[in-house]
Symmetry: C2
Subunit: 438 residues, 2 copies
C-alpha cells in the first residue's frame, strides 16, 4: 500500500484519450532526462536519491538536534526561501497548533522561531523580545551567506546573543547549515568557531527540505527525521518507473501540463486541515520558482477548506474557468470529537448528533469535490492515510519529483531561478552597494 | 492629507488615454447606482455610511468589550467568512506578533482565539486545551446561526463552557453577535440568556468588519475602535465624489477593470510587513466573493514580501504576463533597528552599516517595483503613513467601496454569493440532512 493515494475523479486526466500515448512518450523522455542526468539543471539532482536514516550525515544532524534539545527552550532558525519554507512546513504539519503556549513538558520540543525571511523591523523586534527570557540556540541556514535578509538577521541575532551570553558562550550556541566547502557563511562560521552542517552542493534551495536545511530544525522540534527519510525513500522507489499507469507522481505531472495546455492557468492546492498552511507555502515556492519562467507556468495558489469555501468558494464555483484543484485529504486526523446533542435543536444540527467532527469534515470534502466538478473545476485527490513523518516525507518527495518532471514536460529548466536576481539588483543600486548601477 | 496615498507609477492606469472619458462615464454610472441605491444588491449598502464612534451601538460594543477585558484572559470568537476574517485581520495588523506569549501586563488585552472557521477536530481540540487554564469568554458571530462550521463549534464550546463554569455562569460568559430581530442564533441566545449585539440587516458578511462582528473582538483585543470608525468616516467623505481625478478609490476600481479587460487575470496583494497576512485573507474574500461570478472576476492572490520574492518572485518576474500587483507600503513601522557593523565584513553587508532595517525594507520595496515594471507587471502603490487604527479603518473602507464600484463596472452583483451554496447542498446530502437529495 502506498503512503499516498492518487486519484483522478471523473476521468479528469486527459479527456481526449488519443493524447495518452503522446503523454506517455513525453513522460518517458522527461524521465530519461531526469534519471540520465542529461536535462537542463542536471547538476541539481542530489535530492533524487533521498539520504538514508543511517547515513553519517543524518546521524550528525540527529546528534546536533539532541544537544540543542537538551540545552535550549527555543531554536531561532535564520533563513529565507528554501532555507526556511521546508522546515516550517514540516514543523507546522506535525506539531499541534499553539503548542508554544503549552508548558514545556506537554510539548514535543523547544519552540522554533524563524528570522531572516523578511525585512520587518517590528517582526524582528517581536521575536527577540519573546526570546529574552529563554535559552536560545541559533541555526543559520544559507548556502552562500550573502543573501541580504538572512545575513542581516544573522548580524542582529549574533550581536543579541553576544549581549545575552557573552562572546564565548554565544559561539557555542550557533550552528550554521551551509555549503560543505565554500562560501561566506562557511568562512564566517569557521572564524567564529560555530558548529556546521552541510547542504549538498547538488541540491538547490527549494529541493532542500530533506537535507540538514530542513532536517535539523525538524529534529529539534521533536519530529522523527529518520521516519521522514524512510517515507521519502519509499516514494523514490514507488515513483522510479516511467510507466504512467504505475506512477501517480508522473500522472500528476502530466495531468497539470495537459490542463495548462487546455488553458487552465491557476492550480489551487486545497487542504482540509489548517496545519497545511505552511506546507502550501513550501509547495508554492517549489512549483512557482521551478516553472514560472520563459513566460510560462501555472500560477500556484493555496486554500484552506472549509474556511476558504466561505471566501474564495464563490470564485471557484462561479468565476472564470481557468483553475484546477489539487486536494489534500488526510483520512485519520487522530482525534475523536463528537457533535453534542441539544434537546431543543436550536440550530437544526441534531441530525449530526453522534457523528464526529472528522466525519463532517469528510463530507464537506466529498461534497466540495462534487460541487466543483459540477462547476467544471478539475480535481485531483491526494489522500494520506494519516499525518505523520513517514507520510509527510513521502509527500515532500512526491511533489519534488512531480515538479522536476513537470518542468521538463513544460520545456523549462526546473532547477534555476534567474528572475529572483532582478529585484536584488535594483535594491542593491538603491542601497548604494558598491559596484551596482543597474 | 489623506490617510492613504494612492499612486499609479509608470502611468499604468489606462495606457490608452482615449478610454479615460469612457471610464469616467462608467464610474459615474456605477457611483450613481451605488449612492442612489438603485443597483443590484441595493439592499446591502449599510456599510456605505460607517457608524460614528459616538453612536449608541458603538458605545454598547465598547462597554461589552470592557466587561470582557476585565473578566477574561481569553476571548474565543466563533465565526466563519465575514464573521471571522475582518476581526482577525485588524487584530493581527495592530497587535505585535507572538504577543500571546508575553506576560499579560505587556499585552494590549486578552488573547483572541478563533473557532468555527474550519472542521478540523485537531484544531478545535488544540484551541480548547490551550484555554483549559484560562478565564474564557465567547463571542459567537453569525447572522443566521445555522451555518454548519460555527454552529457545530458553538455546540462544542458551549458544552465545554458548561463543564468548566456550570450552566449559569457559562451563560454569563457568552455574547452573541447576530441579527437584530430574527434567526436561529437570536432565538438560541434568548433561550440561554446570552447577551447580544447586532449586525445590521443591510450589511453582508464580507462588508461587516466595521460592525459589531469585527468591532467587538477588536475592542476586546485592545484596539481603539473609535479611531478605526473615524478613519472609515474620513474615507467615506474622501471617496464620496464620482470624479476619477479626485477619487483614488474609484481610480483603483477602474484600473483593475481596465487591466482585466486587457487580459490580466490575477491580482496580487503584496505587503512588506508580515502583519498583513490575515488582512490579505480578508481582502481575498471581499474581492473574490464579490466579483467571482457569472464566469467573470479577477483571481485575488496575496504575497508577503520580501519573503515571497524568494518563492513566487521568479514566477512574477518571468512567468506568464497575466498578473498585476497592488502593493501595500507602510512608511513608519515604529521601530528603529540598525544594521550592526562587523570589522571583517564576513557577508559583505558593511555597506549597510548605520542604515536601519526599515530603510533596507524600503529599498527592497522600491527595487521590486522597478524590477516588476521592467517585467511588465503593472503596479499600484497604496501607502499608509503609519499602521494604527485610524489608517486601518481608512483602508478597510477604501477596499470595500472600491470593491462595490468595481463589481458594478464588471457588471456583476457585488453583494450576493450564490455559488457558496453549492458545496453546502452536496455536503448536506452526504451527511443525510433531512430534505437534501440534490
Amino acid at each position: 500500500m502506498s503512503k499516498l493515494h492518487v486519484e483522478f475523479p471523473a476521468a479528469a486526466m486527459y479527456t481526449d484519450g488519443s493524447r495518452t500515448a503522446d503523454w506517455q512518450a513525453a513522460a518517458k523522455r522527461a524521465h530519461d532526462q531526469l534519471h540520465g542526468r542529461s536535462g537542463p539543471g542536471q547538476e541539481w539532482l542530489g535530492w533524487l536519491d533521498p539520504p538514508s536514516p543511517d547515513d553519517e550525515e543524518t546521524r550528525r544532524i540527529a546528534e546536533a538536534a539532541e544537544e540543542i534539545r537538551a540545552r535550549a527552550d527555543a531554536l531561532l532558525v535564520i533563513g529565507i526561501g528554501g532555507s526556511y519554507a521546508g522546515a516550517r512546513a514540516a514543523i507546522e504539519l506535525l506539531t499541534p497548533p499553539f503548542s508554544s503556549q503549552l508548558p514545556r513538558e506537554q510539548r514535543k520540543g523547544p519552540d522554533v522561531y524563524f528570522l531572516g525571511q523578511n525585512l520587518s523591523a517590528s517582526y524582528i523586534n517581536s521575536v527577540l523580545s519573546i526570546l529574552a527570557d529563554k535559552d536560545v540556540e541559533i541555526n543559520v541556514v544559507s548556502k552562500s551567506g550573502t543573501t541580504t535578509e538572512p545575513a542581516l538577521a544573522l548580524r542582529i541575532a549574533r550581536e543579541w546573543m553576544i549581549k545575552k551570553y557573552g562572546r564565548q558562550e554565544a559561539a557555542t550556541r550557533i550552528i550554521a547549515t551551509t555549503d560543505r566547502t565554500q562560501g561566506a557563511l562557511r568562512r564566517f562560521a569557521e572564524s567564529e568557531g560555530w558548529r556546521m552542517l552541510a547542504v549538498p552542493a547538488d541540491v538547490g534551495g527549494r529541493y532542500s527540505v530533506l537535507t540538514a536545511a530542513g532536517l535539523l530544525p525538524m529534529s529539534v522540534a521533536g519530529l522523527k527525521i529518520g521516519e521522514m527519510l524512510l517515507g521519502a525513500q519509499e516514494a523514490s522507489v514507488e515513483y522510479a518507473m516511467p510507466d504512467l499507469d504505475a506512477n501517480g507522481c508522473y500522472r500528476y505531472a502530466v495531468w497539470r501540463n495537459e490542463l495548462y495546455r487546455q488553458g487552465k492557468q491557476i492550480e489551487l492546492l486545497a487542504a482540509y486541515e489548517p496545519a497545511f498552511c505552511a506546507f502550501a507555502e513550501w509547495w508554492k515556492q517549489l512549483f512557482g520558482e521551478s516553472e514560472g519562467k520563459d513566460g510560462k507556468g501555472i500560477f500556484p495558489a493555496a486554500a484552506q477548506f472549509s474556511t476558504d469555501l466561505h471566501s474564495l468558494g464563490q470564485y471557484i464555483q462561479d468565476g472564470p474557468r481557468h483553475m484546477f484543484e489539487t486536494v489534500l485529504w488526510v483520512e485519520l486526523t487522530g482525534s475523536e470529537l463528537l457533535v453534542p446533542f441539544i434537546e431543543e435543536d436550536p440550530d437544526g444540527l441534531n441530525y449530526l448528533t453522534g457523528k464526529s467532527v472528522c466525519e463532517v469534515n469528510e463530507q464537506a470534502y466529498r461534497g466540495t469535490i462534487e460541487a466543483h466538478q459540477d462547476g467544471k473545476v478539475p480535481n485531483l485527490l491526494l489522500t494520506l492515510a494519516q499525518l505523520d513523518e513517514r507520510h509527510v516525507g513521502h509527500l515532500f518527495y512526491f511533489f519534488e519529483k512531480a515538479c522536476a518532471l513537470s518542468g521538463y514536460l513544460l520545456g523549462v529548466n526546473p532547477f534555476d531561478q534567474p528572475g529572483v536576481e532582478a529585484y536584488k539588483g535594483k535594491m542593491f543600486k538603491l542601497l548604494g552597494k558598491p559596484g551596482w548601477t543597474v
